[in-house]
C-alpha cells in the first residue's frame, strides 16, 4: 500500500504513477500525506483505486475522476471532482467554489459546507452536501441530483435544465426558471437511492426535503420571457 508524502514526492510523479495503473491493478489502496493545499492531487484517475488524502487539498482534487474512490480527510479547494465521470469522492471538510462542476457521473459527498456554484453546469453527477451550499449553486444544471441537507444561497438553479435539486433547509432565492416542485413517492425513492449510495443508511428522511427544478419556460425563446435573460 503506497504511502506518499507530497512534501517529498513531486506531485507529477504521484499522479504519473497513479495514471499508469491498469484497471485490473491490485495496487489499489494509496495513502497521500501532507497535501498542504496543493492543486490537482489525484486528478485524472482512471482505475478503481482507493485513495486516501490526509489533509486539505487545493483546486481540482480528483478532477475528471473515473472509477476511483477518493477520500479527502480535510477541506477541498475550488472545483473538487470537477467533470467527474464515475466513482466516489468524499470530502470530510468543506469544499470551495464549483464543487462537482460539470460532472457527468459518479457521486461527490461533502460533509461540511460547499461554497458558491456547487454543481455548476452538472451533467449527471450526484452531489450530496451535509452542510449548506453557496450562491449560484446548480447554475445551468443539466442532469444529475444535488442534495443539500442545509441551506442554499441566492439564485439556486439559475437557468437550470433537467437536474433535480433537493434541499432540506431554506433557499435564499431561486434563480431564473427554477421553481419548487412536488415531492412524489417516486421522487422520494430516487432521493433515497442517492442518499444510500452516498452512505446514509436510513438515517436521513427524504420527506424532509423540498424538490426544485426547471419550469422549462426558457427552452425555446419567447419574447415574453426576455426579462429572464
Amino acid at each position: 500500500m503506497p504511502d506518499i508524502d507530497l512534501g517529498v514526492t513531486p506531485l507529477r510523479e504521484l499522479n504519473g504513477a497513479l495514471h499508469k495503473l491498469p484497471p485490473e491493478t491490485n495496487e489499489r489502496h494509496w495513502v497521500i500525506e501532507n497535501p498542504a493545499g496543493r492543486h490537482a492531487i489525484a486528478a485524472g484517475l482512471n482505475a478503481p483505486l482507493n485513495v486516501e488524502i490526509n489533509g486539505p487539498v487545493g483546486y481540482y482534487c480528483a478532477g475528471m475522476n473515473k472509477l476511483a474512490t477518493v477520500n479527502i480527510h480535510g477541506s477541498a479547494g475550488v472545483g473538487v471532482a470537477e467533470n467527474m465521470m464515475s466513482g466516489f469522492v468524499h470530502v470530510s471538510g468543506d469544499a470551495s467554489q464549483a464543487a462537482g462542476a460539470t460532472g457527468h457521473g459518479g457521486l461527490l459527498r461533502i460533509d461540511g459546507n460547499a461554497s458558491s456554484r456547487c454543481g455548476i453546469s452538472m451533467k449527471g453527477i450526484d452531489i450530496v452536501v451535509q452542510g449548506s451550499v453557496g450562491h449560484m449553486s446548480a447554475f445551468m444544471a443539466q442532469a444529475g441530483n444535488l442534495v443539500v441537507f442545509g441551506d442554499a444561497g441566492d439564485a439556486l438553479g439559475d437557468s437550470i435544465y433537467e437536474a433535480h435539486l433537493f434541499v432540506r433547509g431554506s433557499v435564499k432565492s431561486l434563480g431564473a426558471d427554477c421553481i419548487k416542485k412536488d415531492m412524489s413517492d417516486e421522487h422520494k425513492a430516487a432521493l433515497h437511492d442517492v442518499l444510500t449510495r452516498a452512505g446514509f443508511n436510513g438515517e436521513v428522511d427524504p420527506s424532509e426535503f423540498q424538490r426544485y427544478g426547471s419550469a422549462r419556460t426558457l427552452y425555446n425563446f419567447n419574447v415574453d420571457h426576455a426579462g429572464e435573460y
Binding site: 492543486h39 485524472g44 467533470n83 462542476a101 455548476i120 451533467k123 433537467e162 426558457l218
Partner: protein
C-alpha cells in the same frame, strides 16, 4: 398644372435598407437577429498590405529545387509531445452540432491528407473526427459539453477557449432546430430545445486561476500534450501576455472576421478587432516576454488565400487557422445551389442563417437528408486541394521574397496601401517610410 420637378428620392446612409429591414424584423419578432459567419462589413484587412518582392538587393529562390519549407512545430514550450504540422494552416474549431457529421469528416480527411490538424468545437469529440483526423485539437469551452478525460487523453492538444473573434465575451449558441437526438445526447440536453450556454468557465475566472486549471490539465495528461489558449481579438497585447503567464504553449488569436455557427448579429459586427489590428500587438507581447517562436501564435479570422497566410506569417504568426474558408472549400454557399438559397430567402454568398439548420450544402445542418448531400470523401479531397493551394501560394510569395522557410517572412517584407492598415500592421505606407504612430519620417 404644377410642373415643379421633384428632387431625386434619397435614402439615408444611416437608416439604409439593411437597417430599416432589421428594425422591421425586430419589431415583428421581439428577438435579436441571430446568424452565423463572421463580420461581413468591410474593415481593414490583409488586402491593404503588399509584399516587396525580390529586386536589386534581394534575390528570389527558384521554384521546386530551392526549397521553401512550410512545417511548423506547435507546443514546444512544455509538452512532451509537441505537434509537427506539415503546413502552417490548421482547421479552426467548429462543433459537431453546428456542423453535420459529414462536414466534420470532410474536414478531418482533408486536413489529415495535408498533414495538419482539425479542432473539435462546443459539443465534444466524435468518433468520426478522431478517426479521420490524424492530428486533433480538443477544445475546453465554458459549456464543457461532452468534455471527458478519455477524449482529453486521446487528443493531440487541448485548446482552452476564452472566446472567439465573432463574439469575444459570448458563449456557445445552438438552437433547437439543430439539437437532434445525437447532438442532444452528446451535450446532455433535451432534444429540440434552444441551448443556453455559459460565457465564463465554470471553475475558474481570470489568468491567475487559469494557471491552476492548466496545471490540472497537464497533470491529467501527464504533461504530454500542448495546451493552446484561444482568445477573440480584443486586447491582444495584454491577452497574449496573460496567456503566456498562465502557462499556454500556443496562443490562438481570432479576429472579428472569424466565423461562428450562431450568435447575435450585433455581437459579430460590433465587438472585437479586425484580425489585421490584433496581430502586431500580440507578437509584440511575445517579443517583450522573450517568447516569440517559443510560445507559438496561430491567427485566424478572414484567411482566404496564400497571400493572407503569408501576410499573417510576415507579421509574426507561426501559423493560421481557417474556418469559413474551409467550409467554402467543401461547398458552403456554392452558387450551384442558388435555387435553394433563393427559396430560403437569400442568395449564394449571403446565406448565414445556419442556426436554422437548413443548409442546402449539407454542412450546417443536422437534417439527415441534407447532410447526406455532402460526400465526405469528395469533401475531404476538395479541402486538401484548397489547403494545398494555400500552401503553394504562400511558398510562391515567400520564395519571391527570398525565404527558404515561410517563417522567415518578416514585417519589413510588407508595405500598406492605406493609413489605417499601415498603423495597424505597423508597416510603412507604400512608397514612403511613414508608419503612423511609430515614426515621423
Amino acid at each position: 398644372m404644377d410642373t415643379t420637378p421633384i428632387t431625386t428620392p434619397r435614402k439615408s446612409a444611416t437608416f439604409d435598407d439593411y437597417s430599416m429591414s432589421e428594425i422591421r424584423r425586430a419589431a415583428a419578432s421581439g428577438i435579436y437577429d441571430i446568424r452565423g459567419g463572421g463580420a461581413k462589413r468591410k474593415v481593414p484587412h490583409f488586402d491593404d498590405l503588399l509584399f516587396l518582392g525580390a529586386s536589386m538587393s534581394r534575390y528570389p529562390l527558384e521554384g521546386y529545387r530551392e526549397k521553401c519549407a512550410t512545417d511548423v512545430w506547435l507546443g514546444t514550450r512544455f509538452a512532451e509531445k509537441p505537434i509537427h504540422l506539415k503546413i502552417p494552416v490548421t482547421i479552426a474549431g467548429m462543433s459537431f452540432g453546428s456542423l453535420s457529421a459529414q462536414a466534420k469528416e470532410s474536414l478531418g480527411r482533408g486536413a489529415s491528407k495535408m498533414g495538419t490538424s482539425t479542432t473539435t468545437g462546443d459539443g465534444g469529440m466524435t468518433e468520426e473526427e478522431r478517426g479521420h483526423s490524424s492530428i486533433l485539437v480538443y477544445q475546453l469551452l465554458p459549456s464543457r459539453y461532452g468534455m471527458n478525460p478519455d477524449d482529453l487523453r486521446r487528443a493531440d492538444a487541448i485548446e482552452i477557449v476564452i472566446g472567439q473573434g465573432a463574439k469575444p465575451g459570448g458563449g456557445g449558441m445552438l438552437l433547437g432546430q439543430k439539437i437532434s437526438k445525437r447532438v442532444a445526447e452528446m451535450r446532455t440536453l433535451p432534444e429540440g430545445i434552444d441551448q443556453r450556454s455559459a460565457c465564463r468557465h465554470p471553475d475558474w475566472t481570470g489568468p491567475d486561476d487559469l494557471e491552476i486549471k492548466i496545471q490540472e490539465l497537464r497533470e491529467i495528461m501527464d504533461w504530454q500534450k500542448p495546451i493552446y489558449i484561444k482568445v477573440g481579438a480584443s486586447r491582444p497585447y495584454y491577452d497574449t501576455a496573460l496567456a503566456v503567464k498562465s502557462g499556454a504553449d500556443v496562443i490562438v488569436l481570432d479576429g472579428m472576421q472569424g466565423g461562428t455557427a450562431a450568435t447575435q448579429e450585433v455581437f459579430i459586427e460590433h465587438v472585437g478587432l479586425p484580425t489585421l489590428g490584433a496581430i502586431r500587438p500580440a507578437v509584440q507581447a511575445l517579443q517583450d516576454l522573450g517568447m516569440h517562436r517559443k510560445v507559438q501564435l496561430i491567427v485566424s479570422g478572414g484567411i482566404r488565400s496564400g497571400a493572407d497566410v503569408a501576410k499573417a506569417l510576415a507579421l509574426g504568426a507561426d501559423a493560421v487557422s481557417v474556418g469559413t474558408a474551409a467550409l467554402a472549400a467543401i461547398g458552403d454557399n456554392d452558387p450551384a445551389l442558388e435555387e435553394e438559397y433563393q427559396r430560403l430567402g437569400t442568395t449564394a454568398g449571403a446565406y448565414d442563417d445556419w442556426h436554422e439548420g437548413q443548409c442546402p450544402a449539407g454542412i450546417n445542418t443536422q437534417i439527415p437528408e441534407l447532410a447526406a448531400r455532402l460526400d465526405p470523401e469528395l469533401g475531404g479531397r476538395r479541402l486538401a486541394n484548397y489547403l494545398s493551394v494555400l500552401t503553394l501560394e504562400t511558398q510562391t510569395i515567400a520564395r519571391a521574397c527570398g525565404k527558404s522557410h515561410v517563417h522567415n517572412l518578416e514585417p519589413e517584407d510588407l508595405v500598406a496601401l492605406t493609413v489605417e492598415a499601415a498603423a495597424m500592421a505597423q508597416v510603412p505606407l507604400a512608397g514612403t517610410k511613414w508608419i503612423p504612430g511609430l515614426n515621423t519620417e
